[in-house]
């Protein structure tokens, strides 16, 4: 993949916003069929410009207006906020207190940095193919719950461009949820409790909730390869002591001896499982009945940022925004192929702009005969961005179907009167 040079960003962004950004699909999404009057017009966008100049309360009349403004301002980053009671761009003229955030997609932000205490391969802003599995597990666990437990139909997963993923839940009923319910949903989806001063962060009750059991089943599919092989969490004393910190002291000696005898994490883990489930240890509450699961969850379970999800007025980086540090596009993820999603294969803005140049050269003659609009519509299709836009289009199509279904129901009801 093409190397990204931040110094080139201004020029590349101009090209990106002029020829590659999927405005039609983007507008189609945020307009939600135009069912609610002024829904798009009351949406807040925020732009981060060169030199970290941050401009809030941008709003636009339509797709064309949006397009012009983005090409004019050339933002380094785009954030999407709430749908307000008034046009955000006029928020200063509205009577104090009347300008209010009213609706917003339910969003989730999962960031690799929050796992630094349980991944050994990287830290801070770095990621690799080993720890990316944490994101895969997180997406699978959260998506299953949103779909099956909460009944949410329209979930858009997006790569953040660097070290995490975002999820946008776009069902109409979800966009109207209150802050309290949003908080409750995040709480339901959270198991890791406690900060710096708490070592054991997962405690399961005697009864295991179906959400937890189903999450464990997902983690089991990945645990051996991710935790025991790739992360090698029981590699040596330094590392297995971290796991012993999660285990009652009464079995430490036994485990220490066993760990010294074996030579690999898988063998040591198998030994730990036996010790944890041995009758003399589960009696007298030496080991809780779910000790093994508690360790697996602490190492692999999703860690959500509750403050991103609970507020209606919280801004989140937009899909198709370019990450200014990596140059990668924040692309939608095809959930059907989530196991194959590779963040390092996601195109950088450098790459797709160069692809455009290559395509332009070879098809120079054809271009002369095409109109500008057709020209623009096709451009992203000629680059590595195309498959990701297709994922987005599939998502939009499902949204349209739901809306039409709802309209049919409405007209049916109306006919009854």
């Amino acid at each position: 993949m093409e190397l990204f040079d931040p110094a080139e960003l201004p020029e590349l962004l101009k090209l990106y916003y002029r020829r590659l950004f999927p405005y039609a699909q983007y507008y189609r999404w945020l307009n939600y069929g135009g069912v609610t009057k002024n829904y798009f017009q009351h949406r807040e966008f925020s732009f981060t410009l060169k030199d970290d100049i941050y401009i809030r309360y941008q709003s636009f009349n339509n797709q064309s207006d949006l397009e012009k403004e983005m090409q004019k301002m050339n933002p380094y980053k785009i954030d999407i906020g709430a749908v307000y009671s008034h046009r955000p761009s006029q928020h200063n003229t509205v009577k104090l207190g009347a300008f209010q955030a009213q609706e917003k997609e339910l969003v989730f932000d999962i960031d690799m940095t929050d796992y630094d205490d349980v991944r050994r391969c990287c830290s801070s802003a770095d990621i690799c193919s080993k720890c990316w599995t944490l994101m895969t597990m997180a997406m699978r666990i959260i998506d299953r719950a949103l779909k099956e437990d909460f009944g949410f139909k329209h979930r858009l997963w997006v790569y953040s461009g660097r070290r995490g993923v975002h999820c946008w839940v776009c069902d109409e009923s979800v966009r109207k949820l209150s802050s309290a319910v949003r908080s409750g949903i995040v709480e339901y989806l959270s198991l890791i409790k406690g900060g710096h001063d708490v070592k054991k962060k997962v405690h399961l009750n005697e009864k295991v909730h179906p959400f937890v059991r189903k999450s464990i089943n997902i983690i089991k599919k990945y645990f051996e390869e991710y935790a025991l092989v790739d992360q090698d969490i029981l590699e040596n004393k330094e590392n297995w002591d971290k796991i012993l910190a999660l285990v009652p002291e009464t079995v430490h000696d036994e485990l220490q001896k066993g760990f010294q005898r074996f030579h690999s994490s898988p063998q040591r883990w198998e030994y730990l499982r036996k010790v944890a489930s041995a009758p003399q240890n589960t009696k007298n509450d030496k080991c809780g009945p779910w000790l093994e699961w508690e360790i697996m969850l602490q190492y692999c379970f999703p860690r959500l940022d509750i403050n991103v999800s609970k507020g209606v007025n919280h801004l989140l980086k937009s899909p198709f925004s370019v990450h200014p540090k990596t140059g990668r596009i924040s692309v939608p993820i095809d959930f059907q192929k989530v196991d194959q999603f590779d963040p390092f294969v996601v195109p950088t803005i450098s790459a797709i702009c160069r692809e455009l140049d290559v395509v332009s050269t070879t098809e120079k003659e054809k271009e002369e005969n095409e109109t500008d609009s057709r020209h623009r519509v096709r451009d992203y299709k000629r680059t590595s961005l195309a498959p990701y836009v297709k994922v987005f289009e599939q998502f939009l199509e499902n949204l349209d179907k739901s809306r039409k279904g709802a309209l049919l129901k409405k007209s049916d009801l109306q006919k009854d009167f």
Binding site: D52, Y54, D114, D116, D117, E148, D149, F150, G151, F152, L177, A180, V181, S183, G184, I185, E187, Y188, I192, K193, G194, G195, H196, D197, V198, K199, K200, K201, N205, K207, V208, H209, P210, F211, V212, R213, R303, N307
Partner: protein
């Protein structure tokens, strides 16, 4: 849903009619009171209810809600203050009447800001929860009907299909005869207090709620109804505030038991940045001490820590200029570019001093807020160390603070009993070498001021506490009239409230 037109009721009703007004000890407070009462009774009822709600708050922090100890202590408080608490007792009319009237009076006092509304709603919900928990089973259905909550049980077939999942999800179903248990299918958003803690089974957007857990649904409805009513009351408040004798009383009510907020006034500018390191070991409570230490070591704090510590420093007297200097110096030591600090962080500091955005002058967090909201997660140092630490790590921390072993033992016992604020008082006593600290701790800034009072012999820094006495009024026709005006305004605002409710329930 229908509301009959208001009919003026006589002051006292005969026999059965009195009981018919208040069929249950727990009320949803759907209709405002219509009596005329004296100003004296107005004040008396209001103060008694504030005491009750404060007792509910304190018990909720000291004991696990729903335990035998919590229940018996709460019952004792309710009885002492002469409010209604149990079904099927004689002479229940008067306690229930007091309950009804005092609730509506406090709406006037506690609708005036978001924090007050939140506090009021929380305590009223806990009161309702208690009363529902002692409601006889045969009365549940009748109560549900009276409050217009219509839940329908699922069929036996549906129940059987999901038996394992429902059983695994609902703690209340342990040891229960499954066959006789009703289960209600409710939209998940209406079961917020159940699903948030994973205490109910969710499937395709619905919660499957056993009858035993239906209280959580009721509480959710009650919260929504009361929240809406308070918002409407707030809009009608100007009419009440125009009465010069009522507004001071209402203001006093909302402050008298929620305690001091330690907003910055007299103490501003009396602290220098040079003093903070030594003050942190001598006069900071552990929650602020650990934040200060983390800031010095890491040259950074995450949002929760910046809020908790920043507002505390503001409360002890740091000026805006000092705060900007303090945080910037420290963050720059962490290799942060000065421009980045100016762009990303200084706005938030100015905002917390009321200089930007909504220009709200934020007040430092109380112990209650720190203990009960926004628990710390990985990478955070905020929260309450007594509440948010493992016992072993707390012990180590206390050893680092040179607390003697016997003191540490007492502190750990208190923490085990969930007495976090008392544990902190014990820490205060140990670190200041006093046998009894002489105050009931509820705020980190209070800890600081009490500490400085001891260390400096009462000079300079002590914040003057004001405890205005309850105004004494003699009963008179005119004052009775004033109280009637207040209630008339209340009626007026609540007529809007009823319209709102009508719309609400018809959706």
């Amino acid at each position: 849903m229908q509301f009959s037109g208001r009919t003026r009721k006589k002051l006292r009703l005969a026999g059965d009619q009195r009981n018919a007004c208040y069929p249950h000890s727990l009320q949803f407070y759907l209709q405002p009171p219509t009596e005329n009462i004296s100003l004296t009774e107005f004040e008396s009822l209001a103060f008694d209810r504030v005491k009750l709600l404060k007792a509910i708050e304190n018990l909720g922090v000291s004991y696990v809600k729903g335990t035998e100890q919590y229940q018996s202590k709460l019952e004792a408080e309710i009885r002492k203050l002469k409010f209604s608490y149990r079904e099927n007792l004689e002479d229940e009319y008067e306690p229930r009447r007091r309950d009804h009237i005092s609730h509506f009076i406090l709406r006037l006092a506690y609708c005036q800001s978001e924090d007050l509304r939140r506090w009021f709603i929380q305590q009223e919900m806990d009161l309702l929860r208690f009363r529902f928990s002692i409601l006889p089973k045969d009365k549940v259905q009748s109560f549900l009907k009276d409050t217009h909550l219509h839940f329908e049980a699922i069929s036996d077939e549906e129940k059987t299909l999901r038996e394992q999942d429902i059983m695994a999800s609902s703690p209340s179903l342990s040891g229960v005869r499954w066959e006789s248990e009703s289960v209600y299918k409710v939209p998940f958003a209406d079961a917020l207090d159940l699903f948030r803690g994973r205490k109910v089974y969710l499937e395709d957007g619905f919660a499957y709620v056993p009858l035993k857990d239906i209280v959580a649904i009721i509480l959710n409805e009650f919260r929504a109804t009361l929240s809406k009513a308070l918002a409407l009351t707030a809009r009608s408040l100007p009419a009440v505030q125009s009465d010069e004798r009522l507004q001071p009383l209402l203001s006093h009510l909302s402050h008298s038991y929620t305690g001091q907020d330690y907003s910055t006034q007299k103490s501003t500018g009396k602290i220098s940045l040079d003093q903070i390191d030594s003050l942190s070991t001598k006069s900071f409570p552990p929650c602020m001490r650990q934040l200060h230490k983390a800031l010095r070591e890491n040259h950074h704090l995450r949002h929760g820590g910046r809020m908790q510590y920043g507002l505390f420093l503001k409360g002890i007297g740091l000026t805006l200029e000092q705060a900007l200097q303090f945080w910037k110096q420290e963050f720059i030591k962490g290799k942060m570019d000065p421009d980045k600090f100016d762009k990303g962080y200084s706005y938030n500091i100015r905002h917390s001093f009321g200089k930007e955005g909504k220009r709200t002058d934020y007040t430092p967090f109380s112990c209650m807020k720190i203990i009960l909201t926004n628990p710390p997660s990985q990478g955070d140092f905020h929260g309450c160390p007594f509440r948010h630490s493992d016992a072993e790590l707390l012990k180590q921390k206390m050893q680092t603070y040179k607390i003697p072993a016997s003191g540490i033992s007492q502190i750990l016992d208190l923490v085990k009993g969930n007495h976090y604020q008392v544990a902190c008082q014990k820490y205060f006593e140990m670190t200041h070498n006093v046998d009894d600290c002489g105050f009931s701790l509820n705020h980190p800034n209070q800890f600081f001021f009490e500490s400085q009072r001891i260390l400096t012999g009462g000079k300079d820094i002590k914040k003057e506490a004001s405890h205005p006495e309850t105004p004494q009024h003699k009963p008179s026709t005119q004052k009775t009239k004033d109280a009637t005006s207040a209630l008339a305004s209340l009626d007026s605002s609540l007529e809007m409230d009823l319209e709102g409710l009508e719309d609400y329930f018809s959706k």
